[in-house]
Symmetry: C2
Subunit: 411 residues, 2 copies
């Protein structure tokens, strides 16, 4: 079930957000707010921002990445170096009405659209500026992560070097923090009338998360950080196993019950009990299971090596043990899981084709909130200026004639 | 600068949220809402939930993890199997007042506190249920990630196997999605009076993110997913280099300017130009820089191998190239960066000690929103029942005498 886009039922219906952004975090913020029902107007410089042609691409060169992150938004192309282009941005952001007055950007502190500049035009404006480093220097997910410590404890324990994460986890967290901060600021404005100047450095997203989860705290309190544990889950029992036919499973025994089930299904109860006595350990305790994980893994691995993936999968499914068979993205897509999951629905995306696109993961009252396709760059300029700024045809023609406003692309 | 906790200035001041949760995602949701100014009452079963003693621990066995994720919350211990314990939960969640009526939980669809049960007591209740799998089966970050595809494309390209990410990225994204969904639902309730029944499966958080970022779309559209690229950034030029003294740098040249600067600082302009001609490539194009990254990296690596970390760091700092020296968590803590960053402030955490704890990464009007320490398990029970449910001393004594309400811990 899908609510009509911008239906008044959506949680953020009635809000209008201006986004001037590129790459992952700030476009993800805009997409998420759009899924929640806000109208998002993405403004790009003429010809598009730096991320317009970002990989992955289709065979004909269209960016799967860009269209994925900009679904549902309205698109305007403006000459942002011109005085009149900048004027239009300011007027769009500070248009009257309780739902207007919100700007999301990652383009740094440009004076012509700074919080103070906008605040002078509309005192309750809400601006969010996504930065790389706190001091405004640029940074990306990969550099932030390198400086923080995770690549040092990721990867095979015998690997001499660092392993970057592939998922841009800090960008994702930053995009969601941004959407949350905007929504919280909207709530406050509705309550007290106050606007907000929100600053969100990618670097601080990573540091705050690493702090909250204990990675930085344990160094401060205990003097050392945690060691690399390869594919083993830290602090509990969990690792990966290979079956007789070379299939890999991730297995996690978080509780005593999970662990008892894992020993039962691998037929290792007696050996594990003998080990427990000999080591003076108590495998009812999570910490003892973690401490002796290498021995336990060696025991369980024998069972996995002598059973094929189907047998292992059936045995695990019949137990309480948390488990999954490792899959590639290709296997996920070909499994039929997306078709069976109401989170996904067919999207017809111009320049890309038809594909199963995800809604936002939180459903509201059983409804998955999804948007339409990404617009072609600059295709909504005239309509938005007519609607939001009440410009007439002559005014719009003057803007396109002088090259300030991008013409909609020829189809 | 720090706003007083629960000051009326904070964006979510005046909200009261009941959290019954464990592990990472739902406690992170509660912490984040608390930083934004909401009062969060965490209810645990007697003796604590399954995550009470989770690693990392201090030398005396206190959980750095638990205290980090539960900062600022009020704590009640209740016998959740008893009728009267369940009754108190329902009364706390559905207490009258515009800020009440919000529940966050990851404990699955227990009938006695289901959305429908609570909705019968307060029609505009907002509940958020965090699930593992969509169908209610349990799942954790590691199993969700295994089933999705990232471990197959992470790690050294010559590594035969999968590499789990260490950062629980899906838990973090789920916690932030949960905080966002609650805040958006609060906004809608204030506007329309309607409550919300929000369901958020961890599995769907991962699938939606992988879909939005193109990992699942490219398989559907192009027939194949992206290959493993080791530490190389996908679709642009970026990788890690080792200096003469064995220090590692992550270097990203996102734009043509970055790339020109990188060739200049490594003195490879002529060789790169010759290569460009010989290959028929255009290194002004991001995609050509990515395609030929192995050759380019081999060239640049010679420069890094013949310079030490200080020289390399200075040269990079004098250029536009995005870069960071890889650090361990220990190096981050010992660098003094946390002391210099206003995101962090000293927190005196009972049972843990004093440490620099992070606020939320988004600052509002220059203010970093932080909370006090985590309460001891069950220490706020009497006060909360007095305040929210207006119970008198005799009623509270009856609850402690019958073992329904946990006594505050002896200090």
């Amino acid at each position: 079930m899908t609510a009509p886009e911008h239906s008044s039922d959506r949680p953020l219906a009635g809000l209008r957000i201006v986004e001037i952004s590129s790459f992952v975090a700030s476009p993800l913020c805009g997409l998420t707010l759009c899924q929640l029902g806000a109208e998002v107007i993405r403004i790009d410089p003429l010809g598009g921002a730096a991320d317009t042609g970002r990989w992955p691409l289709t065979g004909t060169g269209a960016s799967i990445y860009w269209t994925g992150l900009n679904r549902g938004k309205r698109s305007i192309g403006l000459d942002l170096r011109s005085e009149s282009g900048q004027d239009i941005v300011r007027r769009l952001v500070t248009a009257p009405g309780p739902g207007n007055g919100i700007l999301v950007t990652n383009t740094g502190g440009r004076a012509w659209m700074s919080h103070d500049t906008l605040c002078a035009l509309r005192s309750d404006v809400i601006t969010l500026e996504l930065l790389g480093r706190r001091d405004g220097r640029p940074a990306v997910d990969y550099t932030v992560n390198a400086a923080l410590g995770f690549p040092q404890i990721t990867g095979p324990s015998d690997h001499d070097g660092v392993v970057n994460h592939v998922l841009p986890a800090w960008d994702i967290a930053a995009g969601l923090h941004a959407a949350l901060a905007i929504t919280a600021a909207v709530h406050r404005r509705a309550t007290t009338g106050a606007g907000s100047h929100i600053v969100l450095p990618l670097e601080d997203v990573a540091l705050a998360t690493a702090g909250t989860l204990g990675y930085l705290t344990e160094v401060q309190v205990n003097g050392t950080g945690r060691p690399a544990t390869g594919n083993d889950v830290y602090g509990t029992y969990g690792t990966d196993f290979v079956t007789a036919d070379g299939v890999r499973f991730m297995v996690v025994a978080l509780t005593s019950r999970h662990f008892r089930d894992l020993t039962a299904l691998t037929g290792t109860q007696e050996t594990v009990a003998a080990l427990e006595t000999a080591l003076g350990a108590d495998f009812g305790r999570e910490s003892d299971r973690f401490e002796h994980r290498d021995l336990l893994t060696a025991l369980f691995a024998r069972w996995f090596r002598s059973h094929d993936a189907d047998e292992a999968g059936r045995a695990l499914a019949g137990s309480s043990v948390l488990h999954e068979r490792y899959r590639t993205f290709e296997q996920v897509v070909r499994s039929g899981d997306l078709e069976r999951n109401p989170l996904f629905a067919t999207l017809s995306q111009p320049r890309i084709g038809e594909y199963l696109a995800a809604a936002m993961p939180a459903s509201f009252d059983g409804v998955h909130l999804r948007t339409g396709p990404a617009a072609d760059l600059g295709s909504d300029g005239r309509e938005v200026l007519r609607e939001v700024l009440a410009l007439d045809d002559a005014e719009i023609a003057a803007l396109t004639d002088t090259g300030v406003l991008a013409e909609p692309p020829r189809s």
